[in-house]
Amino acid sequence: MIAIAVAFAIACFGLGLLMNLWRIVKGPNSADRILALDTMVINVIALLVLYGIRNGTEMYFEAAMLVAMVGFVSTVAYCRFVLRGDIIE
Amino acid sequence: MEIVIASSIATLTAGGVYLILRLRAFAVILGLALLSYAVNLFIFSSGGLTVDEPPILHGDGIAGYTDPLPQALVLTAIVISFGMTAVLVMVSLGAYLERGNDKLDIHEDEDALSGEPDAQ
């Protein structure tokens, strides 16, 4: 039962990724792209955790944590670039 | 799965090569970044693909692990290419600030100070 649920969730988030991709490519604003990439990061985190459940290992949580961290930093950096040009000022 | 990785390597390489053949340093940087992804996957795959078996030893068994050596090589390659990219970015920025354009080609008759107006 769990296996099916995991597969379902993976499918949902995977599908989500494709939708994010569409938004990144299509835009039209930078904000859309950054937003879509940020969402993509969140979906990937979910997928990582799901993958961990599927394999019964907690090996991938560090990866998920790190992805969360760098995802945030890059989102802020992209935004700052548009907002202020200089990301560290 | 092999075909997935091989075609990913191929696409990344093709994209990277196309971009390093562009005329502006920035495109070349992007191209080298793509090539770096490609080569990382390439080296990684040289040990053969394994799924679901990370190279962390539990007990003394050694069967069925992902080949650790290519992984270590890729790690080294990632770090080195990071250092290289950083220098490249800096050098191209420097060249841009000195020349007023970020063309990769050098033209004998180019005059930096009357260069293009794209220097903001």
Binding site: - | I20, A25, V28, L32, L35, S36, V39, F42, I43, S45, S46, G47, L69, P70, L73, T76, A77, I80, S81, G83, M84, T85, V87, L88, V91, S92, G94, A95, E98, R99, L104, I106, A112
Partner: protein
């Protein structure tokens, strides 16, 4: 401790100290850097003497057995290359200090030491991937040195240099991946063993790996069609750096000599002499391009750069034959052309500094025209391969050792014609710089401008020493060639190398 690691470790420990502790004190940095380089030369001499016993010494890093850990291998070849590097480094560092080049930007000495570390590491390593790592060390240090002190031309040339080499490094990784995938090891000796076992009908992958590696090394060795980057890079590098770069092209040549003899030698069934078949024509064209470039150059630094291209072609013609005799000749010419190129760049620096431009045009002479013309004449003789300096002997050796009937005419015509073009090119350049300039009226200096200072003895000394070394290399050609002959015999006797690395490698 065993001293094999010392040429890597000494600069590796010194460089951070210079770069971080002494970065605000140029005097201290200079003393440390010069002292370190001298010490390196001393160590290199010791290693050379040690290697001349003919025994291949292996250093098992981390005490791991080969082929699992990384090994350093000291044989005659690596000892010679390290020694050559150290000698060159001493000349260059003194020149850089005496002319004040080192103080025109930041971190010269730290980068210089790292550069030495990379070069020595590349020469000593017995591991294909570690060779890549040290290639990268020496390359990234060279990027820093190349753009040392900045400036528009230097940065744009530096950008090209970096891009080209990054592309090359990427290819290096592709090649190593292919190599590992086809034979499953990285240790050079182990590679040799395993490649020898591969039958031709299964050799596709390993052949590709060998070829890609050749291309990678050919970039460094500036072999056609991968020589395009060199002239502009060398021409725009700070002159002492360009002089140091004389050894960088040799790193490429060394790698081909090492890898494509020990691992992919022509007698390997899988390779079937493929490498030489491609290398030889490439070398021939390289000679031609070098000669044509020397004749066609409008500026002194590119002229010197093209002469390096030509000399690499000459060197690689001998390498491409892959016989012990030809390799002996190649090694002699390698030593010669390294010092000759260094001498040329150092002299060019002294001249350009005083002329204020490297355009080959008549300008009023400034100071010490006689001295500089004599130095230039010496350097030109060296680079063109004229007697009495060692280049002539090197060329004779190369021509004499190529005995394959299908190669001989090509090699002779290329080498001799290349020499002629180089001679004519240098004669034109020198005549313009030093002779025609004497006919130019000396203008009255505007108020307040100081004429360029005369060169002090310390500034001239490195260039002069390089020329003297070339003379010495000619005089001592016999003993030198004895060493080199034993070197190439050792190189081609790959069972020694393999035995030393794999045979006695049991972990203690």
């Amino acid at each position: 401790m065993n001293w094999i690691i010392a040429p890597v470790l000494l600069p590796a420990l010194l460089a951070p100290l210079i770069g971080y502790v002494m970065r605000h004190d140029i005097t201290l940095a200079r003393i440390a850097s010069v002292a370190g380089t001298l010490l390196l030369a001393g160590i290199a001499t010791g290693l050379l003497i040690s290697a001349s016993s003919g025994e291949t010494e292996v250093y098992f890093l981390g005490d791991w057995a080969a082929p699992f850990g990384i090994v350093l291998v000291l044989d005659r070849l690596s000892a010679m290359m390290v020694f050559l590097t150290a000698v060159l480094a001493v000349l260059v560092v003194i020149h850089a200090v005496a002319t004040g080049w080192d103080n025109k930007g930041r971190h010269f000495h730290a980068l210089f030491q790292f550069q030495l570390m990379g070069i020595c590491g590349a020469f000593l390593t017995g591991d294909a991937f570690n060779l890549f790592v040290f290639f990268e060390v020496l390359l990234i240090a060279s990027y820093g040195l190349m753009i040392h002190s900045g400036g528009k031309e230097r940065l744009q040339a530096g950008l090209q240099y970096v891009v080209m080499n990054l592309a090359g490094s990427t290819l290096f990784l592709f090649a190593l991946g292919t190599l590992y995938a086809s034979v499953g090891t990285l240790n050079i000796a182990d590679l040799a063993v395993r490649v020898a076992e591969i039958p031709p009908e299964e050799a596709g992958l390993v052949r590709v790996a060998a070829m890609l590696l050749m291309v990678v090394f050919a970039i460094k060795a500036a072999l056609f069609p991968l020589q395009f980057w060199l002239p502009a890079s060398y021409a725009n590098a700070p002159a002492p750096v360009a002089a140091l770069f004389a050894i960088m092209t040799k790193v490429g040549a060394y790698a081909i000599i090492r890898i494509h003899t020990v691992v992919f030698g022509p007698d390997m069934p899988a390779l079937d002499g493929m490498i030489g078949d491609w290398l030889f024509p490439a070398a021939i064209v390289t000679i031609a391009l070098g000669g044509i470039g020397v004749l066609g150059a409008r500026r002194l630094m590119p002229l010197a750069g093209f002469s390096v291209v030509g000399s690499m072609g000459t060197l690689m013609v001998a390498v491409a034959v892959f016989t012990p005799e030809a390799t002996t000749a190649a090694l002699y010419y390698l030593v010669h052309s390294t010092l000759a190129a260094a001498a040329l760049f150092l002299v060019a620096d002294l001249v350009i500094t005083r002329r204020g431009t490297d355009n080959l045009q008549a300008m009023p002479v400034t100071v010490q025209n006689g001295l500089f013309s004599a130095l230039f004449f010496g350097a030109a003789i060296a680079v063109a391969g004229m007697p009495p300096l060692s280049g002539f002997l090197g060329k004779l050796l190369i021509l004499d050792t190529i005995r394959q009937p299908d190669l001989i005419v090509w090699a002779w015509v290329a080498v001799l014609t290349g020499s002629l073009l180089t001679i004519v090119g240098f004669a034109r350049a020198g005549s313009m710089l030093f002779w025609k300039s004497t006919a130019e009226p000396v203008p009255d200096l505007p108020e307040g401008t100081v004429p360029p200072p005369a060169a002090r003895a310390m500034e001239v000394m490195p260039a002069l020493t390089a020329l003297l070394l070339l003379g010495l290399l000619a005089v001592l050609a016999g003993p030198t060639t004895n060493y080199l002959e034993a070197t190439s015999v050792q190189l081609f006797e790959r069972s020694d190398y393999i035995g030393a690395v794999l045979g006695t490698g049991e972990e203690g």
